[in-house]
Symmetry: C3
Subunit: 254 residues, 3 copies
């Protein structure tokens, strides 16, 4: 990632933009927040990967998401879908169907989002999950098989599957859900690793989650609350290298 | 608040979104930034409270604000109006009239904003106040009576009234006006407390302001400037509990 | 700047808004992020200076940029143009031509952006520069003469010219390109100094760059990474005064 500094296009929500860009910069990527329908497709052809997050959705942005995802798909670029609170309103439910049809390479969400996306009953409310990752494992497997995408359910222990193999990633900190946009930034981070290893979406996703796990654990050790955690996490990510990751990542076949 | 973790819908400005979401998370609420006319009304029926802030206004967002405020009003949910710089342009003056007609439960602004909203002469310029809170007290009382809303004027010492009772809240720090979106985040915080005590808008507003006062004083003690204050304030809010609040809040009947 | 606390209108991108507002507050200015076509022109007449940044461009925002720049030009107010990644898409290329025609007082960009704007071949990709400042000096001189604007190329050592005189500004830190929106915030800072010395655009630009250089060097000394640098930079800016600036600024005629 640091050697290639891949250009990653992020169509993400207003809340996450700044933090997600700083996360990608800390990891060594070159983020570009380009969303308008007038240019999102053209830009997706330049970028090495694309991420789409429906957190602060509107019709205009949805057009840009379609333009970008179509261009990414057409030019063989990987893209990640983050279905924030997709079950909350009719507008979101319809939007997410359209985006799923554009064949995301990876889908990342919390347990409630993934369960609802798989057609199962969930306890989600707003943008926060009401379900445990464990409860979402079967939904994730089913969703991965149906969509031919890698599916990542993130929470206390993350679960990633391509419909066949499955991996669990531990680490992180209980402060992470107290910092807004942490999940959205993780989606962008998955895009960063997809950009450098586009043929290995499962491995790229696991690596991104492992980075968040290790940096999260490190940052929490010196933090007194979510305010200090947020910037220490960026420092930890920026200091992360292959050796530290290898030594501290808590990754296991599920 | 921490026990109920209420879902609070915030239609706020681009500058404030991230910081306001972190403030609500630190206080124990579940913020959701949902603004599009396509879904803002539907979402307002799910949320326990709504906040509307016109900081970075546009016609499209104004439609979403109306949809959300109408739905909140129709379903008996409390909502807070933050009339940022409403006197600055014709577009804002017209927008604020339309929003006031939708019956906010609480109106929070700086002294110049409240004075201008009450029809009095103010010295506001841009988003900063040119008047003292004391000068705005009579305007706040008049505005509260006319609109049947709780009115909060925030500044060095805050003033809150429902048109009859009035409360002053001291505390905070002179660093607070040096951090952007602090007032906008406070508006969201009022929404958080309204969500858990919807029948007591005066008390909810005073509690939110007292939290900001106590956390602000604490954060300032260890800060070297507005940069460090911003994240220490989040840490202080996250560490706040009923006992600390009771012991340090500077609240007095006016 | 601190004495006058000028009102600076910033039409900037979603990523930069919060950080840029905090930078201007730390420097003593009063930032206002007002972008909608419905009011951007009217507000530009109230403000002392305007900054326009096309980072997260859309058609609607472009209308607001035109309204604001026209009003600024008509009322003799200085304005700064930040042509973020203007070469990346047809939409941006067209947008930047239209904005250049509205006569910016100052143009600030990275080396690739300025080279491309001058019609020269550049190695820009996304929002990051692929060229050194030194390589862009001739382009900056040509662009300044053609547009009658002050042109600032920022990077390791900044280069500023009005087409005749030229100034180099050193300082800062290698952490600065690792914090998103640092360049966008600098553009707003230039707007702040233009607001107080509108007749001296070259000096105003150099002063803004010198402030960033000195505060950046100071902030980096105590930082462990881009996360801590971001808020320490705000603290350093807020503590900066004329004496410190004079003592530490690394400014030289080129």
């Amino acid at each position: 990632m640091r050697r290639e500094s891949p250009l990653v296009q992020c169509v993400t929500n207003y809340v996450a933009m700044n933090y997600a860009a700083n996360v990608l910069l800390a990891a060594g990527a070159s983020p570009a927040m380009v969303h308008a329908p007038e240019e999102a497709g053209e830009f997706a052809e330049l970028a090495s990967a694309l991420t789409i997050n429906i957190g602060t959705l509107s019709s205009y942005w949805l057009q840009g998401m379609h333009a970008a995802a179509k261009a990414a798909h057409a030019s063989g670029k990987p893209w990640v879908l983050d279905p924030v609170a997709h079950f909350a309103t009719a507008f979101r439910r319809q939007a997410i169907e359209g985006l799923l049809a554009l064949k995301p390479t990876v889908i990342r969400g919390n347990a409630s989002e993934i369960m609802a996306l798989a057609g199962d009953v969930s306890s989600g409310r707003g943008v926060d999950s009401g379900d445990s990752v464990e409860r979402a494992e079967a939904s994730a497997l089913a969703l991965a098989r149906r969509t031919d995408a890698v599916v990542a359910v993130t929470g206390v222990v993350d679960f990633v599957t391509d419909g066949h193999a499955a991996v669990c990633i531990a680490g992180g900190s209980e402060l992470m859900p107290k910092v807004t946009a942490m999940g959205c930034a993780l989606t962008c981070m998955v895009g960063g690793f997809l950009a450098v290893t586009p043929q290995q979406p499962l491995e790229a996703t696991v690596t991104a989650l492992a980075c968040f796990g290790v940096a999260g654990t490190q940052a929490a050790q010196a933090s007194n609350g979510p305010g200090s955690f947020a910037w220490r996490f960026i420092d930890s990510l920026a200091a992360l290298n292959g050796d530290v990751l290898q030594a501290h990542a808590q990754v296991a076949r599920a």
